[in-house]
């Protein structure tokens, strides 16, 4: 799962611009992730602040 650290995020939209699946959206200061995310990791490398991370899904 893509995790957004919203305390770190600088709401710049760079991740939105690189996402091949158009899974991200910037709403004012809030990054939304939708179900189209393929967990490719591209956005995590681009984020200037390191606010994005792919984390293992919690087992339920």
């Amino acid at each position: 799962m893509l995790s957004v650290n919203r305390y770190k995020c600088g709401y710049c939209g760079a991740c939105v611009g690189v996402c091949p699946a158009a899974a991200l959206e910037l709403v004012e200061t809030w990054i939304e992730v939708n179900d189209d995310c393929t967990k490719c990791g591209r956005c995590t490398k681009i984020c200037p602040l390191g606010a994005l991370e792919l984390v293992k899904e919690a087992q339920t």
Binding site: G17, V18, E25, E28, T44, L49
Partner: protein, 391 residues
């Protein structure tokens, strides 16, 4: 709601489009998802004086500083100084974009455009398979705006193109990922825009310092996406500041991404035109995109004013936009993309060597293109690949 033209995004590209189209008589609605136009800023705010003057009547309240020129610093510290006062120079004014962007939106409003803030475009409306407007959210309420033509001036995070089937997703090698501080320090040069090159300093990019007033500057970094990892820009910027401005005080910080992809395949679709960063029209070498967005906005506004009354807004009819921008700003974007592709893989030794080759040559009067020409002349073998691009 119904109108002739919907402009998505109230940056410099959107506001110029809206202004030109409204002046020509179109009924224009411009949407901006933020509640404050121009804020937060995602820019180092440098523009060419001559280019800006051609586009708008200057108002001194937008200008934070005027510079004498640019200073480039090679990895080993060798410097090249270029003066500003010639047409075509890339630097000249450092703007206050919070004020500038709002002033351009005000101009659009004065020309008759309806400006709606805190209004986010959510998708295209369709009628008989062709775009017929925009669905949006206006302060949390849903809203439909019908219009035959939609301008996507929605910046680096653009969605309008994607909704229309244009894949604008940037590859890592096609984006500079950036961080910037507004820095106060005695050591800041108030008169020159400075550029620091080096693979340790800024892989595939550079560090800049753009004066913002007395002992104040936008000090920032751009790193090529393909050479970056999570958080690289902010880490390297902190290192740079600790080394070069150890007593510097950070008054603001911001982050952002600049497209450096060069011209994309298409910037039009049935009923849709893309402008500025949304069309990836920023300069691949400098990362400057304000002027190109404004110029493309003027073209899009004029073309909208011609095409909408005729009812000719299909992709075929909009090829005049493709043609017009590719033959003007597109030429330099294409050339600079090729130059960038070459430069990003140079080693520090290469960069030092190139800088030394300018020893004894007066480059003060050159702009970026002139400088590249001299570099090719001085290093014919090394820069063989660039020769056909520059001359």
């Amino acid at each position: 709601m119904k109108c002739d033209l919907v402009v998505v995004g109230a940056g410099p590209g959107g506001s110029m489009t809206a202004k030109v189209a409204a002046e020509a008589g179109l009924d224009v609605v411009m949407l901006e998802k933020r509640q404050e136009i121009g804020d937060p800023v995602r820019c180092a705010e440098g523009v060419s004086k001559a280019a800006l003057r051609k586009l708008v009547d200057l108002d001194p309240v937008w200008i934070s500083a005027e510079v004498k020129g640019a200073r480039l610093r090679a990895p080993d510290g060798t410097e090249i100084v270029m003066s500003e006062d010639r047409t075509g120079a890339e630097v000249g004014y450092v703007l206050e974009r919070k004020v500038f962007d709002r002033a351009l939106a005000r101009d659009a409003a004065e020309a008759g455009a309806k400006v709606m803030v805190k209004t986010r475009a959510l998708g295209l409306l369709h009628e008989k398979g062709v775009p017929s407007g925009i669905s949006a959210q206006f302060v949390g309420e849903s809203l439909k705006i019908e219009a035959p033509l939609i301008i996507g001036a929605d910046g680096v995070e653009s969605k309008v193109g994607r909704w229309a089937g244009i894949d604008t997703a940037l590859k890592p090698k096609d984006i500079e990922t950036c961080a910037q501080f507004l820095l106060q320090d005695e050591k800041i040069d108030d008169e020159y825009c400075e550029f620091y090159l080096g693979n340790d300093i800024a892989p595939g990019g550079y560090v800049w310092s753009f004066p913002k007033g007395e002992k104040l500057a936008n000090v920032g970094i751009g790193v090529l996406g393909s050479k970056a990892n999570s958080g690289t820009p902010i880490r390297l910027l902190r290192e740079f500041v600790a080394k070069n401005f150890p007593d510097g005080k950070i008054l603001e910080m911001m982050v952002g991404g600049v497209p450096v992809s060069g011209p994309i395949e298409t910037t039009t679709a049935d009923g849709v035109i893309l402008v500025g960063d949304a069309a990836r029209q920023s300069d691949p070498i400098t990362g400057g995109g304000i002027i190109n967005a404004m110029r493309a906005g003027v073209m899009a506004g004029e073309i909208a004013a011609d095409q909408v009354p005729k009812g000719e807004v299909d992709k075929e009819s909009l090829q005049i936009y493709e043609k017009r921008w590719r033959e003007t700003i597109g030429k330099q974007i294409t050339r600079n993309f090729a130059v960038k592709e070459f430069f990003v893989d140079l080693t520090d030794d290469d960069l030092n060597h190139l800088t030394h080759s300018l020893n004894g040559i007066n480059v003060a009067e050159l702009d970026l293109r002139g400088l590249l020409k001299v570099l090719v002349r001085q290093n014919p073998k090394h820069l063989l690949k660039l020769r056909h691009l520059i001359v």
